[in-house]
Symmetry: D2
């Protein structure tokens, strides 16, 4: 209820600050019997690690996941899975200066307004490091979804003005390129664009896309807990996301009904849609087609050029942010988007298991 | 948990189908002592009533709100407020045909997949009439927010290709025009566009904008229950919405940090932002500026031109939808967007009252 | 969250005051496909109706249940079931006097302290009539549980000093006797005792017992949401209940381990317990034996003898309560206990359906 | 939702198994600005440590609390407080035997039925060590309640047949005696009784009482989330508790209305009750008197005498439990009862802060 928990039946609670002792997540409600190892988690965490390239900072973040509970003899027990990542690279001294003023585009001011004070070291709770817990939980959710044939793929769609070309889609490039773009050519252009931004002490935004394949029809609740509504919350809860689209998204608002509607057709004895403008969701419930969503991410607010702001004493000042900051948030947020989508979908799948008496009769029989 | 409830402390539960006996909402958690009458509710309900103009259907929907509980001697008692609207214009016979096939762009197919069958009369639970409960609750939330100086204004930003001109912004026009546009000139163009759509048996989409003024800084929780995340869920849970933007929204993804950041400045002893690209929310918490959001609404899926689909027997068929359908959803959804935003903001305001010990000490003293 | 909702997946929200227009309940999360009629509800409601006998008041409460939504062609649709009972016997004039003082043993004073004022007519929200919604929902839950072979039986165990004799247990007597005792001899003694109480302008308390048979092992969550913990909350949330016991209950605290432990044994290839001191729950999870609980109910606080109290002006006064009041709450609360137990168990059954991957694989297959 | 979280606004999530790497709790929703140190937590944890006396086992459990997040410069920040206790005394080898059979009175069988398998080491998740997280959170809740003048005192009321004498009530004795009885004479008798139990390879149960003083009137919600209902759930969720009483409890069921009702009176300009049979709660809401509750605790199920049970292969066997086990659970559960009561009351206090518009106006002003 206080906002660090997410999910109904598969419920995660993240905790930890950027420069505290550790960060982590407790997953309550993971069904028993899933094979799970620390390596499963680590593979996801490594995807949010800054790379070795020009577009990411030279910080060394070797986040190692440790499972503290909820797994016994290699399988989940049905009880809470506690995952921890110790903060090893804390250098609080770097951040003493920001204790006293409000960085534009950051949550410094709003935290002070809400709580009266804040843990200012490295952004404290509002740091991007909070997503460690989300990604660790996302690894678990994704592994469980795979048992039911559901696969998620998130990638960078654009950075600044550089957009991927669908005809060049190359899934391997998502993992290979520093931009997480599935298009090596676009990725190179994006890298050049980011180098230019850095030279100008500036930063860039971009778009992340996530595709979910293999989801059966019927997942999601019809009114407030629509699958697209829950996905929107999940994605918008990632810091820096400023817009969310489902399927045709903003384009739908400019289309006519005859263009936007997807015709149903029979194919091999199954109902399919001949197009997928809806992005796999109708009336808040999955329709069996691929689920498609896009997150629009603002540029990194920490820029090195001079900025106007105020300090805690209420004086107008001018600042120049120091430290190490990526010129773009997008590539590191790709796995966060994928994780939040996986957690949301899994939770909806669990809730749906009680949607009809027929389902329950498969589990409980007189 | 089953998805027809929304909110944590100000919690609403809607119920009812398009062609059932009645629709309604139960509001649990409305603070005691708010002056409230049926007229307060009716004013909001009337805003979602189809007008007398060419762009809306000739259906007569005289939705009358009745308060069944939770108000005593003109004030809320703190106990559940049950609001009911009886369905008077049920003509189930009109809808017998759709029982057997799946309308493109509607939830017919997904309901059948989820529940095994559906109340097909007028769309049943997935009908736009479900929003009656939301709007009734929105009226209550808005009245309470006004006590704290918070005012919401939602309006149509665009219909098809017709966009309002900010320089012509006229708040009265929202209530006067059939399009709910705050720009009479744009409204006329939009009406002409819609007339053209109808002539072609087609429909249009559009964009709704909502502005919240007077919200204090500090509202919203920093991680999953970010104010923008909760608003996104609230708005995306309205049928036909396919994208949500906060502040600069999708534009932010194409901007540079130096363009997107808002500088803090002192003004009359108060911290303000010299621009508001963030849309009034930083790190998920309100910053004291106006909160701005946009909902992108797809075109009405019920169109009169011929469409391809399948029936429940699994046969490819061609259909022509009959009945009475607006060529655009947007104008009637304006008050729904405003209502969902009000409910969400009020709930966050209540949750925030426990954010710091200092707040509690104002209520409880040793 | 504001306390008029109960349950996680099978969630009920009750609303309404004793002398308002109506009372009701919204059930969200009832699985689709359950055959349900108004008569199913009415049978339960009739069990909480005051009888024609000396121990109940001459009030005429002909509570008729009406289904407003969520049922189509005789089956639940999976969407919210709204049930309403109109208040027909409102005579507010009877209660004007209690507006100004605080009845001992009632919630008048605490409501005023919490909310600043209260709907005083007939006890308002704290009236026993609030349980109408619980009983209506209990009828639905019970019907669903029966599909899985689970049967609940609640009855009066004692009234004042009169206790039933287990050797005379007669299930039909529960429905036949005005005391709801499964022992006709004890019932007659209890009636005589109550007649004596009434003669002395006094009232009596008693104990309700509930037995749940046919519940499979494995239901309930191991830590906070233990099945016995949730049942305790459910039962203690019924006005006038002051103690709850599971299995041996208070006796267990005086027993030795060798007396209280139940041995496991094999019988017909199944694990059984040779005794059931645990009351069917071990570690918060059902063990396959009958679940047994007892609710201790205080005497009716509305008594006709003179009582000392204070009024809203803060003056010591003496009052004599008028009106019509049963000398004992127990018989009418029997069906409330059974209903709350049914709702709680069903909810736990639904939650448990996601406890292991194996269960989900029965519903979702790749 | 999956049962390891508790509370609405002050929400705790416990995790960890008896013989896993660590156990802990995440507290989400602790208001910002509370002075808090590891020592505050340790004082509570030490109260559940086995003593040096004959009635407790020679196990060395040196549970050290560590704060991982949510506290900055000695004060809570409003973000999640993660508390961890490392398991240092894991000796899994001791428990290999119980992997294969079901101990009477334990959750071995029900865990296997629910999840398909279990972490059997030392009881795994159903071990009493799970309460470490509850007690750590209870320390935080208690410290916050003290700011508002609310004090909780839990103690042992009885062990087996030995009951404390109210006239000898000595608060210091609660901390001094190995039984946690506030009566040194009774404590000695109880110790003698327990020595006898141990000699006979048997165990004893008992009763814990908790008194809450200084709670203002108005706390608790009137319907399902009654303060007594929530307290009952909290207390019954502690392993081994089999009954809960509020105020007069089971006695109330045998009293007459004229005996059980508490008269209101004016005293020094304040409303008081001349007696407190209600235990400080009327209609689910605190009435300003002391809140009184009792938990009835079953005898330790692990006894050394021979017991009949079955193994996982479905064979009848006879077992003799080895290892180190206290002959009574009660003394170590005293601080658990106090902690769960504190958490529940604090949560209700937070929820109540939104009960009336007047409260909100103290925090938010136009």
């Amino acid at each position: 209820m206080a906002g660090s928990s997410y999910g109904k039946l598969f419920q995660i609670t993240t905790w930890g600050e950027s420069h505290g002792k550790a960060l982590g997540v407790v997953i309550d409600g993971c069904p028993a019997g899933l094979a799970l190892s620390e390596n499963d988690i680590q593979l996801f965490l490594d995807r949010r690690k800054p790379g070795q390239t020009k577009i990411s900072t030279p910080r060394k973040e070797d986040d190692k996941a440790e499972i503290l509970s909820g797994v016994f003899e290699g399988r989940t027990t049905g009880t809470p899975i506690s995952l921890i990542v110790h903060n090893t690279a804390q250098r609080s001294s770097d951040y003493g200066e920001i204790a006293n003023y409000y960085r534009p585009g950051h949550a410094d001011y709003t935290f002070d307004q809400k709580y009266g004070f804040r843990d200012y070291r490295g952004g404290g709770r509002s740091s991007g490091r909070e997503t460690i817990g989300r990604v660790a939980a996302g690894a678990v959710a994704s592994k469980l979804l795979q048992l039911f044939g559901i696969r998620l793929t998130a990638y960078t769609r654009s950075i600044g003005p550089v957009i991927i070309e669908d005809s060049r889609f190359d899934a391997q490039a998502i993992l290979d390129t520093p931009t997480c773009m599935p298009d090596r050519e676009a990725s190179e252009k994006a890298e050049a664009y980011l180098a230019e931004c850095m030279k100008n002490y500036d930063s860039a935004g971009g778009v992340i896309e996530c595709k979910i394949e293999g989801c059966p029809a019927g997942i999601g609740e019809p009114v407030f807990d629509k699958l697209d509504a829950d996905l929107s919350k999940a994605i918008m809860s990632i810091g820096a996301v400023k817009a969310v689209e489902i399927g045709n998204g903003i384009l739908a608002a400019r289309q006519k009904g005859s263009e936007n509607n997807d015709a149903f057709r029979m194919q091999d004895g199954k109902v399919i849609k001949s197009t997928n403008h809806a992005g796999g969701i109708l009336g808040g419930i999955s329709d069996g087609s691929a689920i498609l969503l896009r997150a629009h991410v603002k540029p990194t607010p920490s820029i090195f050029s001079s900025q106007k702001t105020v300090n805690r004493q209420g004086e107008d000042i001018e600042i120049a942010i120091k430290g190490r900051h990526d010129p773009v948030i997008v590539p590191r947020a790709v796995v966060v988007v994928e994780s939040m989508a996986a957690i949301t979908l899994l939770d909806a799948l669990l809730v749906n298991s009680c949607a009809k008496v027929e389902n329950l009769q498969k589990i409980y029989r007189e």
